[in-house]
Symmetry: C2
Subunit: 359 residues, 2 copies
């Protein structure tokens, strides 16, 4: 024990990992959970039963399909690409981490901020140097600033999310393509919220050697519980990133549920449309509340600023049973919160609580 105590510093984690804040999420009592951009709709019973039926007849003692080959094939068909252009991952997080490990460990990763809060810790854990570039004040992408920083840094990876989280806006197609064309490394576009927008970079992967698009089943497909993400890119990128992904990274349930989701995606996409209608209704209603400034969104959540400190608004909403995300500590987002679009009833509860909170 003395030896170990004396050498304690040598058993400590890497300083940059130790400096990361642990992921914590307060889960207080609530009536409406509008803090994680989940779909408010659980799967229909008949779809769940289909998954459970397949699970029942599968061997649990055996490793699941190597490379999740059937799921990759189904995803490829759904997107109209070949299956060597698809890799599946344990949520988007594993996709981001594996891309960093493949291209950027020991080098730089550049991304605009504010953005998805996991990018920074995943870059640090992946042994890369994260360098952040601010968005413009209207949250649009400054392609020139991003490019010049990335090139100056010698970055190997650029990450951006469109629609961006927590701002909710998509970036202009031309701006993203300017980055893809100008950056001499791999550009990762996170389209986690792809089902809520018309614009997508997906078809560009056919023509771009350095573009990888990430998507997830967690949002519009109502499947956050199964943790399935995927990467679409040219075969060379997929072959490379597949070396960084552990075999059997998706369990039997994740593979099966994602297959069933794809087979019934029209049903799930129908629900995404309901959420979009609600988003527009909630946005209009928020705009009419004094002291609230909602930002236009193309995703299933709305960023908003009020004239009160965000912490106070968060607490007042929670007192009324509504759990939202306080994002006021993000760059550029002082005073801001983010609300996920829920069911019409949950949204009504939120709007009422917001009005009362600001009175």
């Amino acid at each position: 024990m003395e030896t170990m105590d004396g050498d304690r510093h040598r058993t400590a984690a890497r300083p940059e990992v130790r400096a990361l804040r642990p992921y914590r999420l307060s889960q207080p009592q609530f009536r409406a959970k509008l803090n994680q951009n989940e779909s408010p709709y659980d799967w229909p019973e008949e779809l769940k039963e289909e998954v459970l039926r397949r699970l029942r007849s599968s061997p649990w003692n055996r490793y699941p399909a190597v490379d999740a080959a059937p799921l990759r094939q189904a995803l490829a068909e759904a997107m109209g690409v070949s299956s060597d252009m698809v890799a599946v991952t344990n949520g988007s997080n594993e996709a981001i981490l594996a891309l960093i490990q493949t291209y950027a460990t020991g080098r730089g990763v550049t991304y605009p901020v504010p953005t998805y809060s996991m990018v920074y810790p995943l870059a640090v854990v992946g042994g890369a140097n994260p360098v952040e570039v601010p968005l413009r004040p209207d949250f649009s992408l400054d392609a020139v600033a991003l490019l010049s920083t990335a090139v100056e840094l010698g970055a190997r990876l650029v990450f951006l999310a469109s629609p961006n989280n927590p701002t909710g806006n998509t970036f202009a197609r031309e701006a993203i393509l300017q980055v893809v064309e100008g950056f001499p490394g791999v550009v990762v576009v996170d389209e986690a919220y792809f089902s809520f927008v018309r614009a997508s970079l997906l078809e560009e992967v056919h023509h771009r050697e350095n573009l990888a698009v990430i998507r997830t089943f967690s949002k519009a497909f109502s499947l956050a519980g199964a943790r399935v993400g995927w990467i679409t890119a040219r075969p060379q990128i997929i072959a490379e990133v597949s070396r960084a992904l552990p075999p059997y990274n998706l369990d039997l349930f994740a593979q099966t549920a994602a297959m069933v989701a794809l087979e019934h995606r029209h049903l799930l996409e129908e629900r995404a449309r309901v959420i979009l209608q609600e988003r527009d209704r909630v946005f209009t209603a928020m705009s009419q509340i004094d002291g609230v400034h909602p930002y236009p969104s193309e995703a299933n959540f709305i960023l908003f600023r009020t004239h009160l400190p965000a912490r106070d608004v968060y607490s007042r909403l929670l007192e009324r049973g509504v759990l939202v995300r306080d994002v006021s500590s993000y760059p550029m987002l002082e005073g801001c919160l983010r609300v996920t679009i829920g069911t019409p009833e949950e949204n009504d509860l939120f709007l009422e609580a917001l009005e009362e909170s600001l009175r």
Copy 2:
């Protein structure tokens, strides 16, 4: 396009990742699958139904429990440690990768070989420098050689598996503790096959600041399909490695199935005992076949050498419907194959096929 073609080398993966061989596993036709050290026994129907019942009543649209808190608590109780001494992972692979990322990225990882084939690629993907030290000719651990290499290299992590795979032997407790005491960094002991042996380092984690023990539900618990591993260590190590693990790394099924496995672990452990009896029977029978040298095993598989090239024995066994693992390309293992202990019928089929193959 021209720009990208001209800059192709700048979009290429890190050279050390590109040099990794992709994980491939041939899955030909077979009657007995004895190549991945899985349990031959699927879960009893009533246990599956218990898991499916809980899945049916859980929301799939929501993220699973943060930090898998209920599962960590249950594991802690089963092992008699506090829950801040447990982290859960997407199989053992994620445990190994996260420990490397926490302590060894940009530094060295030292481990004895031959060992688990994923250690090398995980070290490379994690941005660490893998340095291998041979076991003694009898596959025992040379603690002095391992220590001197690790210290000379300035390694931050030492990895070893006990029972070791694919050799099947456990390392002497004193040798492992000599490494733990002498190494000024973290020592990871992979006990994937813990249910098949009496010896374990687990209780040592209470007293050792630099010891982390990895276990998995994939083997004795018949749950390779759910991909659940876990790390047991002092709270400081767990707090550090938890920063390197993405939140929600275990999906709803993985968390639920592992909980049910713990609740019914006596049933599953009973089956492990049947496998042990079979292992001893198979070992004795193999010893009596001319030209076969089986190595003593404390796990659910047996390493063996024959007088024929391993590739030929592999093919002849496969012609007879028995799929084993050719491990002859591992260091020190020329001419060797590894057979997993299956059901009594599968083991009979293997023994018969082996005898015929060597005639």
